[in-house]
């Protein structure tokens, strides 16, 4: 803490969302383009995918507000495609059909599923978009978490396994090898949507922006007109304070944890992220933050590392260049840092 207090401004509000300034402030700044860097952020946001999606622009980039809106429209489009909370989405449609037939999938959705399959293999099964029956079995989908009977877990496990979803790359079809299998892109969808939104911004000539979804998925476009990069604190809800300060240029962040959704039985804590390989809640990692080239990857790996622990993270980071992992482990006072990302600097580790 002592170290942190030296390194960070004393302003205790610094990590909270900015309060709105008078409208006049915005327009005053817009009339002063000569200023080298504005001293305020413009946050353009809306609700999508059950959370706040936000595009943060530096003050002098106010002209890009329409582009930020268009990027958020892209998120809405992807929600309509990927959500399992609407009957009308392409994914809901696929889930209905793929147990019965070789179901043709929307092109973009299919590409994302191919990527999911590769990530499932790379993470030794720790990232698995078919794990919904387990979350349901543990009651986390209804927020009525409880410890299920062993046979309930076994019954749910039968319906889990990305390898049970056969992807035909030529015909671009999906076929489930058993009834009860279902795909849910909750662990990668926000990141993927941010990647697409960021691509829209770049194509529209936006050089600097920070995009985020729920704070758990982040994409940095450019450096925010600060050569050190965007300042992002890395938090862990179970520690209730940041564990690291990150500077990021052109990269993405994904954070997973089980500090918010959990229950306790007989002194043992059960978190909402279920290890698809065992059917039991993941243990040992309080939070996992991954910095990588894109947010879909960062999201998937952060979930996988929460489930698979430091051992899996070490193996994945060793085999793949350009991934930085910050793991807060049960019983370890300092976060563990693995690998590196070219646009990321860890300025501070707070213990």
């Amino acid at each position: 803490m002592e170290k942190r207090s030296r390194a960070m401004p004393a302003d205790s509000d610094s990590s909270r969302p900015a309060r709105a300034l008078p409208r006049r402030a915005l327009f005053t700044r817009r009339r002063s383009p000569a200023e080298p860097t504005a001293d305020y952020w413009i946050r353009v946001f809306r609700r999508a995918m059950a959370c706040r999606f936000e595009v943060t622009l530096s003050g002098e980039d106010a002209r890009h507000i329409p582009a930020a809106r268009a990027a958020l429209d892209e998120v809405d489009r992807l929600e309509a495609l990927l959500t399992v909370f609407r009957d009308t989405s392409a994914l809901s449609d696929l889930n209905r059909r793929a147990a019965l037939e070789d179901a043709r999938a929307d092109g973009e959705l299919f590409d994302l599923l191919v990527r999911c399959r590769a990530l499932h293999a790379e993470t030794e099964g720790a990232f698995d978009p078919t794990s919904t029956p387990l979350s349901r079995c543990w009651g986390f989908l209804r927020r009525e978490a409880r410890r299920p009977a062993p046979e309930e877990i076994e019954a749910a496990r039968v319906c889990v396994g990305m390898d049970g979803a056969a992807l035909d790359l030529e015909r671009r079809t999906v076929r489930f090898d058993r009834a009860g299998l279902e795909l849910n892109l909750g662990a990668i969808g926000k990141g993927y949507a941010l990647d697409r939104a960021a691509a829209h911004l770049r194509a529209g000539g936006v050089a600097h922006a920070l995009l985020s979804a729920a704070g758990s998925s982040v994409v940095a476009v450019g450096d925010g007109r600060d050569p050190r990069g965007f300042w992002i604190d890395v938090g862990s809800r179970r520690l209730e304070r940041p564990v690291a300060r990150l500077r990021l240029r052109d990269g993405a962040v994904g954070t997973s944890g089980a500090g918010e959704q959990f229950f306790e039985v007989e002194g043992r804590r059960y978190g909402h992220v279920i290890d698809p390989r065992t059917g039991w809640p993941a243990e040992g990692v309080l939070s996992a933050t991954v910095v990588a080239g894109d947010a879909a990857l960062a999201d998937a790996l952060s979930t996988a590392f929460l489930v698979g622990g430091a051992g899996l993270a070490e193996r994945v980071v060793a085999a793949r260049a350009g991934v930085l992992a910050i793991l807060t482990l049960e019983g370890e006072p300092r976060p563990r840092v693995l690998g590196s990302y070219p646009g990321a600097i860890l300025e501070e580790l707070c213990t």
Partner: protein, 424 residues
């Protein structure tokens, strides 16, 4: 209506959210309830024909409203059971009669609760009103049109408080939905209701031998089985349409703000050949302005259970088993949420990355937490009727309201028998 757990969670939260800007569930509950003790003290009540359903009305109401003095039932077994029920709940004992007319002559009663076989509703209700008693009569109103008309007429002439027992009117969930969703226009233009009650059971109960001292024939029942299983015999019953469907038609009338104008029906005695009323019935009730309620009741597959679903241009509202409500808002589907803009100083980090919070991680919208508060509709309806007797405050389902749903259900059975569309 088979909804996935996720659908239910979403629909339940949407329902509560839709009510957030309107009088809340709790407030509506407060408006429904009455606060005792009431001026003038508890109403001196007699009960007539207290079978399994009638007994429920006996022990629920607060003693501050309803002072049960005597009961009349032709079946000694029912009288024994009400004694047991009251003793179990530490309520005062009551006097017994087999003939309700004798009870009216001998007891100083203000009001009557009655739940006899449907065929006897009109006779008992009209008799009690003519004797100057207020009446709470279990639904459906009456076995035929003439019975409904006679009850309405007697209620008017007597000036007494008459309520027909449709407990959904006293269920906070339905009241809140009516105020906060239907009246507030959140369903858009409402064209269709689907009202369904499916189960897989033989309606028949084990009758056994008649208790000593009971001669069913003397009371118009062919034998003891006809008394116990009156729901299966046409002379006493209008079958599933009345016993299950009338609840739902009544709610549809309420939410549509209209009465059915005609009905077509099909169905029959397909599975259980031991009865005179259909075990499968399908009826389409046609309302003014192109609205239709489709009623299904089957005694074969309980998969869909029982529900009322209202389909509008902007949303769908579903009540499941009188216990849960779900709302699906279609007005926002596919449309972007409003974009907002904030401006803030560049002090500290641009953001903190953490795991997403629960409302973000599951479901679609973060809304009010809470459980569905239905209250105890059976208790409230009797208490409100007692309070109405004392204060003159109108009851929710008086004879006119009950008559429109009863006649629609009677007509549905006639449409089935005659094989044609009939005007209600």
């Amino acid at each position: 209506m088979h909804l996935t757990p996720e659908d239910k969670e979403l629909g339940r939260r949407n329902f509560l959210k839709a009510l957030a800007g309107t009088p809340a569930l709790a407030a509506l509950g407060g408006a429904l309830a009455v606060r005792g003790p009431i001026k003038g003290g508890p109403v001196r009540v007699g009960a007539i024909a207290i079978g399994s359903h009638g007994r429920g009305h006996m022990h629920r109401p607060d003693l501050a409203y309803c002072n049960l003095v005597a009961v009349a039932d032709i079946n000694p077994d029912s009288l024994r059971r009400i004694d047991e029920e009251l003793a179990k709940r530490k309520r005062p004992p009551v006097k017994h009669y087999s003939d309700w007319r004798e009870m009216l002559q001998k007891e100083d009663l203000e009001a009557i609760i009655t739940a006899p076989p449907l065929g006897a509703h009109a006779e008992i209700t009209v008799g009690c009103l003519e004797a100057g008693k207020h009446v709470f009569c279990e639904k459906m109103m009456a076995w035929d049109d003439a019975g409904c008309d006679a009850m309405v007429d007697a209620a008017r002439k007597s000036g007494k408080v008459v309520e027909i027992g449709y407990q959904r009117y006293y269920n906070r969930m339905y009241q809140a939905a009516y105020e906060g969703i239907v009246k507030a226009g959140k369903l858009g233009d409402l064209y269709t209701a689907r009202i369904v009650w499916n189960r897989n059971k033989n309606w028949r109960r084990e009758a056994g031998p008649a208790p000593q001292g009971l001669d069913p024939k003397a009371w118009g029942y062919e034998d003891y089985d006809h008394l116990i299983n009156w729901r299966l015999y046409k002379k006493h019953s209008q079958g599933l349409t009345a016993e299950l469907g009338s609840h739902m038609v009544n709610v549809t009338n309420w939410f549509f703000g209209a009465k059915a104008k005609s009905v077509v029906a099909s169905g029959g005695i397909f599975r259980f050949k031991d009865r005179e009323v259909p075990d499968h019935i399908y009826a389409n009730f046609e309302y003014p302005d192109g609205r239709t309620a489709v009623f299904t009741s089957t005694e074969s597959d309980p998969f869909e259970g029982n529900y009322e679903a209202f389909f509008g241009t902007k949303g769908t509202l579903i009540f499941e088993s009188e216990k849960n409500a779900y709302f699906f808002d279609h007005s926002g589907d596919g449309k972007a949420a409003a974009t907002e803009i904030e401006v803030g100083p560049k002090t500290g980090p641009v953001l903190e990355t953490t795991e997403s919070r629960p409302p973000d991680a599951v479901g679609r919208q973060a809304t009010t937490a809470g459980t569905m508060a239905t209250g105890d509709p059976y208790k409230t309806e009797v208490e409100r009727w007692c309070a109405a007797i004392r204060t003159g405050r109108p009851v929710e389902c008086g004879p006119e309201r009950a008559m429109s749903s009863a006649k629609a259900c009677i007509r549905a059975n006639q449409a089935l028998d005659q094989g044609k569309r009939l005007d209600v």
